[in-house]
């Protein structure tokens, strides 16, 4: 099966975000960069790990950071954006001046391989 293109994954994730009452970041350059990062991680490790976190190469260990990560909804609710800025709220997309750096929720000890 041919690997999915960044453009196709963008389409799929846009639909998914809308189904959750969220949006993709309207900064297309940033969003496509994240999507390319996800696909690079898939090529390296066989799963679509978050590109803003160090992937271990072990799917089970990284289950919590396979995109969409388990921290996404809490982050969007609290900060308007997920950790890597792919999934955001409508308000976040409309108000660039209110954006903050989203702190990491993932426990640090999960990082060591």
């Amino acid at each position: 099966m041919a690997p999915v293109t960044p453009e196709k994954l963008f389409e799929i994730l846009t639909k998914y975000a809308h189904s959750k009452g969220q949006e993709l970041n309207n900064d297309l350059e940033h969003t496509m960069s994240i999507i390319r990062g996800i696909l690079e991680n898939e090529k390296r490790n066989g799963y679509r790990g978050c590109p803003c976190r160090l992937n271990s190469g072990d799917r089970e260990r990284d289950r919590d950071i396979i995109c969409p990560c388990v921290y996404k909804d809490k982050d969007v609710e609290e900060y308007g954006s997920c950790y890597c800025g792919l999934y955001v709220s409508h308000e976040w997309n409309q108000n660039p001046d209110k954006r903050v750096t989203v702190p990491e929720r993932r426990p640090f000890d999960k990082l060591f391989g």
Partner: protein, 86 residues
């Protein structure tokens, strides 16, 4: 040795932005893409990144990019803070 060290991931857009901004500002920096290193080196650098995160006030969870210049540490992409560093 460069004045500024950036601990980064090659796949991370915020890390790319931080490196691009430092380059634009003409900063003397070196960037380490941690995900491209062998596992044992990754673990050593993770310990270092954690030490830096623990030094932050308030303390933060470690993450990428981590940008270090002397005693000043920035965890995450923050344009204003990076500009203030150079």
């Amino acid at each position: 040795m460069a004045q500024i060290t950036v601990y980064a991931l090659s796949t991370c857009p915020y890390c790319k932005k931080a490196k691009a901004l430092l380059k634009e500002l003409g900063a003397d920096f070196e960037a380490i893409d941690v995900d491209l290193l062998p596992k044992d080196e990754q673990n050593k650098i993770l310990e270092t990144v954690k030490k830096f995160a623990d030094k932050c006030n308030p303390k933060v969870n470690p993450g990428f990019p981590t940008i270090v210049k002397g005693e000043t540490i920035i965890v995450g992409f923050n344009e204003a803070k990076i500009k203030g560093l150079v």
